[in-house]
């Protein structure tokens, strides 16, 4: 991706020199990356100490570190992790179980798409969180209402991505399969579905990102537990450094969830990775 000539194209050195430069290069970038992060933390720390306008009320990195250390062996902290993961998992899985088949059929059968797609196009622009109040009214327990909103967050993304994956599949694959004598069922199972898989996983990755955002807000608005509520409770209770611990925890949790999807994708779709 570098659009600049590789720095340091010195005259012809010995073969070892070139290989050393190649290895040296790799960690020059890593060093700069670490430097960038340390500089940010340092500026943050200094900013707080100097009571600069916006940053003044923000807890300094050291305080945050201390708060984090304190929490690491507090069991309640891990309960909130478990609660949040459970909600995301249930909402996300239901969204895939319903969303993928629906997306596949919408992509494959044009008449079905003409009937159902407009409903999607009307409901989709409504931000998932706008559903929270209605969801609380509709579902008996708060837990179900939170999971429903999380489900919505991922559901639309999955359906749209799956559908476009099927429609983007070049029709020469289907034609080749028909010529080779495949029945419609075989075509759906061994051509349409695998062909749409890359788009399905894209939908999942994007959907997972959305579910975590929805979870946090839903837990703040309606929840009694979970990482979102934990962060909000820290604010209400005045334990400001813990707010940032909460934020970082949610960030880490979201990252773990997304990378697990990427791992599953690599295993399920070996043909997409290079040699």
């Amino acid at each position: 991706m570098s659009t600049q000539a590789v720095p340091g194209t010195a005259p012809v050195g010995a073969r070892a020199a070139r290989r050393a430069r190649w290895r040296g290069l790799a960690n020059v970038h890593a060093i700069r990356g670490a430097a960038g992060i340390l500089a940010f933390l340092a500026l943050w720390q200094i900013g707080v100490l100097l009571h600069l306008p916006v940053v003044a009320k923000v807890p300094a990195p050291l305080e945050v570190a201390r708060a984090a250390a304190g929490l690491l062996h507090d069991p309640r902290y891990y309960v909130d992790w478990a609660v949040s993961f459970r909600r995301v998992a249930i909402g996300f899985v239901i969204a895939q179980v319903l969303g993928v088949p629906l997306g596949l059929v919408m992509g494959w059968k044009t008449t079905f798409r003409y009937v159902t797609f407009p409903i999607f196009e009307v409901l989709r622009p409504i931000p998932p969180l706008a559903w929270v109040p209605l969801s609380i009214v509709f579902w008996p327990t708060t837990e179900q209402s939170i999971i429903f909103v999380i489900f919505l967050g991922a559901f639309f993304t999955t359906v749209i991505n799956t559908m476009s994956g099927v429609r983007a599949l070049d029709d020469r694959y289907v034609r080749a399969a028909i010529s080779l004598g495949a029945s419609p069922a075989t075509i759906f199972r061994r051509i349409i579905f695998p062909g749409a898989l890359p788009s399905i996983f894209t939908g999942m990755a994007v959907g997972m990102g959305i579910t975590w955002s929805v979870l946090v807000a839903a837990e703040i608005i309606a929840g009694r537990s979970g990482l979102g509520f934990f962060t909000w409770e820290a604010y209400v209770g005045g334990a400001f450094p813990t707010i940032i611990v909460g934020m970082v925890s949610i960030g880490v949790a979201g990252y773990l969830a997304s990378s697990s999807i990427r791992l599953v994708a690599k295993r399920v779709m070996p043909w997409t990775s290079r040699l």
Partner: protein, 282 residues
């Protein structure tokens, strides 16, 4: 009037490649792309280099164009050293490249593309450059596409515009990197005639790399056959077919005689590359 298209222009564009070499430092160990490549190209000469894909032809062209530094030997253009292991090469308007898949700026109209060079080199004002560009386009029969965007043109027409965009800068040498590879046979035949018309009119030196032996013989004064990777000069064929060249020549006995001289050598290299290619994939 663009001097580039008037034959009276002073003869320039003599290039000498003196044992040019290029080694890539790659994670899997060094890759030798070009090794000890020596070739003298006369001013205004049309030279074609033929070799299997991945043999290092493009690396050589990039060295002359100044995109990638060479690691040994030197390249001299009209007596001035433009690249060597010590002298990092810099691209310049004296060596213009036409790329394999085309590089017309899709976001600029045809006339803006052609006028880009003179404008960015601050050689003439924007209005002058646009006027000069329109005249040049009209001269080669492209007046009515001047205000279109490249995406609306066929790949054949896009190549012709790219040629004009290069020649308006009066380059010393035109570097062509398999420019017609993506075209079908008919457009390729038509493009050959267009290129030769432009060449006969401007006599700019041309360095043309390709896989297609027929194309090389039909277009060039001399055909250099390259070995498969690392690229080395394996054979040089002088093509004394009269100019202006005509597509019927490709069926003439002289043409086939010339082709027979190097066909075996080219086929051998292709076999080696084919087997190595598949061995690397195994």
């Amino acid at each position: 009037m663009a001097a580039a298209l008037s034959p009276a222009a002073a003869p320039k564009g003599a290039v000498s490649l003196r044992s040019v070499g290029k080694v890539y430092a790659a994670p899997g160990g060094d890759v030798v792309a070009v090794e000890d490549w020596t070739l003298e190209i006369g001013a205004g000469e049309f030279v074609a280099v033929v070799g299997p894909s991945g043999c290092g032809k493009t690396t050589l062209l990039n060295g002359i164009a100044g995109f990638d530094p060479i690691t040994s030997g030197e390249i001299v253009l009209d007596g001035k050293r433009i690249a060597s292991a010590a002298v990092p090469a810099k691209p310049g308007a004296d060596r213009v490249v036409v790329f394999q898949n085309g590089a017309l700026f899709p976001w600029k109209t045809v006339v803006d593309n052609v006028a880009y060079g003179p404008i960015v080199q601050r050689r003439s004002s924007r209005a002058e450059a646009l006027r000069e560009a329109r005249t040049l386009l009209a001269r080669v029969g492209l007046r009515d596409v001047a205000d279109a965007y490249p995406s609306r043109l066929s790949s054949g027409v896009q190549r012709r515009v790219e040629m004009v965009r290069a020649l308006i800068n009066e380059p010393k040498i035109l570097l062509l990197d398999e420019p017609f590879r993506a075209l079908d046979a008919t457009s390729k035949a038509v493009m050959h005639e267009e290129l030769l018309k432009l060449y006969d009119a401007s006599h700019t030196t041309v360095f043309f790399i390709t896989h297609d032996l027929d194309e090389a013989i039909f277009l060039a004064d001399r055909v250099v056959v390259s070995t498969t990777r690392p690229a080395r000069v394996k054979a040089i064929l002088r093509v004394d077919l009269p100019r202006p060249r005509d597509f019927r020549m490709t069926a003439s006995s002289d043409f086939l005689a010339l082709k027979a001289q190097v066909a075996d050598v080219v086929h051998q290299e292709a076999e080696k590359a084919f087997r190595r290619g598949e061995r690397e994939l195994a």
